[in-house]
């Protein structure tokens, strides 16, 4: 048997396809027939130094894949499967794995450490394998060969990556950190050990909270990390800087004493070290900026000191030295970096960091950057002109308009002429991008002194439209600039927008761009359509007739994508993408024209044609549904209202397909949103389709494959359906109500959870409450309201417990108090006594009545009214 496994594992990596396929098949069979024996022989294979390295590696890999998967539900199944294995089998496997750590073969050791970490990830939270960490650490305590030490440290690193800090005792954490820091120490002569230790530290930083509060221990860790940044070995320096980056976000508030030293280290690395290290050094400062931006945003200038995290203004303090350092990096551009999607170099990292610094310190950065810009912007070397422009573009977000406006007014003409005349594409690319930033941050209804006036608007548009004929990467940035130019006028309302006179010209130019031969490069076509969308969104009533004219044009384009036949998979992909852009554009147009009665009626003449195009787009695919087309359908249903009924029969199968799409959960989510649109459009005419829709929604809810973010909106859909079909919802009550009830119980308490879970819990609560709201309102004035009575006590209890938990966000508060009103409104006097008996309804209501939040107050007013009506009957 053992012999056989080796051969099969080798065959599974054979060049010959049939041999490989056959081997894979036998492995699969083996696994299905006898899992314990399969796993045992794999671990035996991995542990056996007499076996070829390739079979050992694959054995380890299959073992690892038998323990973990990317998809949540699959992962859960695998964990359960491992836990239920016979414990003697598991013990044997673990012994083999630990034994492999001493193997002279590096690949076998490395594979074994990953498998050990996976098992630890499963078992430690269940208090199993408690001896693991001690077993690993005994390797270090006793003198062991270097390769074993290296494997042990690597295992500890992986282990810390897999396991959550709260399942490891502080005592063991201390031991791990001691071993790791010891391995990182400059006195460690073996680079492999030092690298493994440094990488292990990176993963174990999350475990070190207690150690970082202890000055001595922290000092020691920081010293070792800083020393490691000076190692002669590049990989160690890089890994050490990675540790610093991680520390900067995890232990920001502990960094004060080390900042001077770290500045020196990072400055030296940025100036002198090789790029992978220099990039990490820049990243350290970007990460510090992220931290300070978060702190300053969250506490919005409230420096009273009661906030949890204080801002230490590291960036501000380092500013005079940091800015010149970053400006130097800007001159290290690579040729053609703008054409390379995957490019990431020191100049890009430095410019990005400069932008973050500007957001962190605001006005202070301007005088530090201006001299660099002035000195370089007219230099003959393109690098200098580009660096100066990039520096300018980078600091446009952060400083106040007061500080920037006068500078921008001067710069604007320069930029416009550079975009037309500069001989270098790179400079033009950055110039167009900078113009876009100017429009994004310094133009719009909130800016007091407008940068763009009737006087210069025409020139700006002329230059941008001209630039849209330039090479793809420049044209793409010009589209982007136009996007923000249009966006700045989104609030002009019915008054005239300065771009109105150019509307037709702009639209024509954008459509021309989409037809360019090279529009596939630098995402130019996408940018052109996105800009067209924004121009339409921000258009005024005056140009509505021109938007109407766009409808047949875009429909024609969409029609053409459907004519192509026998496409290669590459062409198919392109067709799919183009259909997405066109459906997206139609969606925007539908929403725009549907918003006012006169334009809606004009648009309606295209409804039949448009719907048949959407249906054909759906039909292009066999198993999945086009997300953009689905989004467009939602807008379309909203605009057409009851008229949509006539399309329903044909559309329904795609609708169902969208609701079944677990894998692409975005598609499922979008389709769930469309359920609501269709309910509101069709009202009771949706009834014939409700059995199918409800079945699908209930399946979605019970699936553990479906991404959890889709579930709250599904609950809201119950409400939409009930509101649309009223008492006909009766037949779904027996399915929907228990589901809502158990979800409500789960979501009532989120205490102690982290922010992300609380946020999700609140989304879930809101969905559940919207469902209740819709159901109550749907049944109102029907003779069947009594059917809801049995559920009322639980719902009131749910509201009570939400009120007690005190962790509702404003949206949930608003919905919750509304549900109390809906319940009283529909159940009348029957509900009155329940509400009177409830623990906290009165307090909850009073709190909401005096809320500052307009929407909460409005809902509370409603509830008060409904309750008082219920009580006075």
């Amino acid at each position: 048997m053992a012999m056989e496994v080796t051969q099969v594992l080798l065959n599974a990596q054979a060049v010959d396809g049939t041999v490989r396929k056959h081997a894979e098949e036998s492995l699969k069979q083996f696994q299905e027939q006898n899992l314990p024996s399969f796993l045992l022989s794999l671990s035996g294979e991995l542990a056996n130094d007499d076996k070829p390295v390739d079979s050992r590696k694959l054995a380890g890999l299959i073992l690892k894949n038998a323990l973990d998967a990317k998809e949540q539900h699959r992962k859960f199944e695998l964990v359960q499967r491992w836990l239920s294995l016979d414990s003697s089998v598991k013990a044997q496997i673990k012994t083999c794995l630990l034994q492999t750590l001493s193997s002279p073969v590096p690949d076998a050791r490395s594979t074994a450490s990953q498998v050990i970490a996976k098992i630890a990830g499963i078992e430690l939270p269940h208090n199993q394998w408690p001896e693991l960490i001690d077993a690993l650490l005994s390797n270090n305590i006793h003198q062991v060969p270097d390769h074993v030490k290296q494997a042990t440290l690597e295992t500890l690193g992986y282990l810390c990556e897999e396991v959550s800090p709260d399942v490891v005792d502080q005592d063991k954490v201390n031991k791990i950190l001691t071993a790791v820091v010891q391995g990182m120490n400059a006195s460690e002569g073996n680079n492999d050990i030092r690298l493994a230790a440094t990488r292990a530290l990176y993963n174990s930083l999350g475990f070190a909270h207690a150690n970082f509060t202890n000055d001595m221990e922290r000092d020691y860790i920081m010293k070792v990390v800083c020393e490691a940044t000076l190692s002669p070995e590049l990989k160690i320096r890089q890994a050490a800087f990675e540790c610093l980056v991680s520390i900067s976000s995890t232990y920001y508030e502990k960094l004060s004493p080390y900042m001077q030293a770290i500045f020196n280290i990072t400055a030296k690395a940025v100036r002198e070290d090789e790029e992978p290290v220099a990039l990490q050094a820049v990243e350290f400062w970007s990460s510090i900026c992220d931290e300070e931006i978060d702190i300053l945003e969250e506490y919005g200038g409230d420096l009273s000191g009661d906030s949890e995290t204080t801002c230490f203004y590291f960036v501000k303090q380092a500013l005079p030295a940091l800015v010149p350092l970053l400006l130097e990096t800007l001159l290290k551009q690579e040729e053609d970096q703008d054409q390379d999607e995957g490019a990431w170099n020191l100049a890009m990292a430095g410019g990005t960091c400069l932008g973050l610094v500007a957001r962190t310190v605001g006005d202070d950065i301007v005088p530090l950057v201006m001299p660099f810009i002035e000195e370089n912007i007219t230099k003959p070397d393109w690098r200098q002109r580009e660096a100066a422009t990039y520096a300018f573009g980078s600091i446009l977000e952060g400083p106040t308009p007061e500080k920037l406006t006068s500078i921008v007014n001067v710069a604007l003409n320069f930029m416009l002429s550079a975009l037309t005349n500069d001989p270098n594409n790179h400079v033009k690319d950055t110039t167009a991008w900078t113009l876009g930033r100017i429009f994004e941050f310094l133009h719009g209804s909130t800016v007091e002194t407008p940068i763009i006036t009737h006087a210069n608007c025409q020139q700006i548009i002329t230059v941008l439209l001209q630039s849209m004929k330039d090479v793809p990467n420049v044209a793409e940035k010009a589209c982007g600039a136009l996007y923000f130019l249009a966006q700045g006028y989104e609030d002009v309302g019915s008054s005239s927008s300065p771009i109105t006179p150019f509307f037709q010209e702009i639209v024509q130019a954008l459509l021309n761009v989409t037809h360019r031969e090279d529009a596939g490069e630098s995402r130019l076509r996408t940018a052109a359509y996105e800009t067209l969308n924004e121009v339409v969104r921000c258009s005024t009533d005056e140009t509505a007739p021109l938007v109407v004219q766009l409808v047949p044009l875009i429909m024609m384009e969409l029609h053409q994508t459907l004519e192509a036949q026998k496409l290669s998979s590459d062409e198919k992909e392109k067709q799919n993408e183009l259909q997405g852009l066109l459906c997206g554009c139609l969606q925007v147009i539908i929403q725009k024209l549907g918003a006012s009665e006169p334009t809606k009626s004009v648009f309606m003449q295209y409804a039949d044609q448009m719907m048949s195009l959407f249906l054909r787009v759906f039909a292009c695919r066999s198993a999945t549904v086009h997300e953009e087309a689905m989004l467009a359908i939602g807008a379309f249903a909203y605009a057409t209202g009851q008229e949509f009924a006539k399309y329903m029969q044909e559309f329904y199968k795609y609708f169902e397909m969208g609701l079944q799409n677990f894998e692409e959960y975005q598609v499922c989510a979008v389709t769930v949103g469309v359920v609501g649109d269709i309910c509101r459009a069709l009202e009771d005419k949706v009834l014939p389709y409700c059995d199918g829709i409800m079945t699908q929604l209930l399946k979605d809810l019970s699936s553990n494959q479906l991404h959890r973010t889709v579930k709250p909106p599904i609950f809201s859909c119950f409400g939409d359906i009930a509101l649309a079909i009223g008492e006909n919802f009766e037949k779904y009550l027996m399915y929907a109500m228990p589901m809502l009830q158990s979800a409500a119980e789960l979501s009532a308490h989120a205490s102690g959870a982290d922010d992300e879970i609380i946020e999700y819990t609140n989304l879930l609560r809101n969905g559940i409450l919207e469902a209740y709201s819709g159901i109550f309102q749907g049944f109102k004035n029907s003779p069947k309201t009594q059917l809801l009575m049995p559920y009322a006590p639980h719902i009131i209890q749910f509201l009570d417990s939400l009120y007690m938990e005190k962790d509702m966000d404003d949206t949930v508060t608003k919905t919750a108090i509304g549900v109390l009103g809906d319940l009283a409104d529909t159940l009348g006097s029957n509900a009155a006594s329940l509400i009177q008996q409830s623990v906290s309804s009165r307090d909850f209501l009073n709190e909401c009545l005096s809320s500052d939040d307009h929407l909460i107050k409005e809902s509370a007013d409603w509830a008060k009214l409904a309750i008082s009506r219920a009580m006075s009957v």
């Binding site: 980056v245 990005t352 909203y638 509101l723 004035n781 409005e858 006075s872």
Partner: protein
């Protein structure tokens, strides 16, 4: 453990337009959901049942207009307030003519007056419904005709940018327009921001009125987008002090009697004994009814509704019959069923047994003013009769609240009367 990828977005907007489209779609869906939720909350419970109304007089007009009228009738019967708030022309007149709560006249003192009732001084002026919706405000008189069409600070009462909110966020107030200071005195709140208060107790309606009206700025002095001022009237518990304050207290308006509202009563369209009006010479210029020339006639006059079978009835539900006209007389006088007919009541012209009308001696005068929407109510006829003979005096009211409060217990009082 390979090095981490630390690439950050470079020269790209942070959010893709596709994501933006998704988010805008979600935003629109949330907004639409909120709107339909809103609408559901407003509408369903506020459908007014008009089926119980008296037969509509106009419905029995000549045969040529019959079909049209009855269509309108079914139409307006099925309306809820939101739809009604959009009605125009004669339909609106007909609908609104039936929506006011009309107090009965106080012929005797109701039990538990001091505990279950409010009292306030009624402003003298034109009783009307004020409806704000779709950026405008309309006031309609008792007969449904429009008094004013104007911008106001009521929710959705003027086309200004700052008064936002959905189109169905309308209001209906029960008011008296007081000419001298050009002010609408709000005596009741029927709908507020689209929420119906019909089914709420007077206690709650007054609470809501007091807490909500001022919030809108409707009580501010007139301005460009607010043509008439609205004002609250001071409402008192109907105890000795309250009654006294309402009767003698200084108010910025001319008084026309006292209104009494039962705290537990819902807003009920048409005549109701749960709201009462009382007046004497001290608190009203118009204790005795005037005739069509504005003079107090020597004999009391009543306006009655001529039924198909010739009976003459009051506007009450069920109607009280005062007499009968024979068919010949009806034809000769050019009257039609549904006409309002004016009669004189001779002194000693009514006889009562156990407080109930037993006999009325009335004389035909002629057709009543066409603008009228209703015949007189039974309680009005009796109050007018009593006012000419043995009026209920303020002292009687004071005595009733003090005797109640002295005894403190209604049961005891009942025993004593027995």
């Amino acid at each position: 453990m390979p090095p981490r990828d630390l690439r950050r977005p470079f020269k790209r907007p942070a959010i893709s337009d596709q994501q933006k489209r998704r988010e805008l779609a979600l935003l629109r869906q949330a907004q639409n959901r909120r709107d339909s939720q809103h609408q559901a909350r407003h509408l369903a419970s506020s459908v007014l049942s008009l089926q119980n109304q008296n037969t509509e007089p106009e419905a029995e007009l000549g045969p040529e207009s019959e079909t049209v009228e009855s269509e309108q009738e079914t139409l307006s019967k099925d309306l809820d307030i939101l739809q009604a708030s959009k009605l125009k022309g004669s339909e609106a007149r007909k609908w609104f003519a039936r929506q006011l709560m009309l107090p009965e006249w106080m012929i005797d003192v109701p039990p538990r007056l001091n505990t279950d009732w409010y009292v306030f001084a009624r402003p003298s002026g034109k009783r009307c419904f004020v409806v704000s919706s779709n950026g405008t405000t309309v006031s309609r008189l008792r007969n449904g005709s429009i008094l004013h069409h104007f911008p106001s600070a009521l929710p959705n009462g003027a086309r200004t940018r700052d008064i936002s909110g959905p189109a169905h966020s309308f209001c209906i107030l029960d008011c008296i327009f007081h000419e001298p200071d050009q002010t609408y005195y709000v005596i009741d709140m029927v709908c507020w921001r689209g929420y119906s208060l019909y089914d709420c107790s007077a206690e709650f309606r007054f609470f809501w009125l007091n807490s909500k009206l001022a919030e809108t700025g409707a009580c501010d002095p007139p301005s460009l987008y607010h043509k008439y001022r609205f004002s609250l009237v001071p409402i008192y518990e109907c105890n000795q002090i309250g009654l006294h304050t309402a009767y003698t207290g200084v108010v910025p308006y001319v008084k026309d009697g006292l209104l009494f509202y039962n705290k537990h009563a819902h807003y009920q369209t048409g005549n109701t004994p749960l709201a009462l009006v009382w007046k004497d010479e001290n608190c009203s210029q118009y204790v005795l009814d005037t005739d069509s020339n504005g003079q107090v006639p020597t004999q009391q006059q009543v306006v009655l509704d001529l039924q198909e079978d010739g009976r003459l009835t009051t506007s009450d539900d069920p109607p009280v019959v005062f007499g009968c006209l024979d068919g010949d007389f009806v034809q000769k006088s050019g009257l039609r069923p549904g006409s309002f007919v004016r009669f004189a009541v001779s002194d000693e012209g009514m006889r009562f047994v156990d407080g109930k009308l037993e006999m009325a001696n009335i004389h035909y005068i002629g057709k009543a003013n066409r603008a009228r929407a209703f015949a007189d109510s039974y309680s009005k006829v009796l109050f007018q009769y009593a006012a000419r003979h043995s009026p209920l005096r303020f002292g009687d009211l004071i005595e009733s609240v003090s005797s109640f409060s002295d005894l403190g217990n209604e049961n005891l009082d009942v025993e004593m009367v027995d």
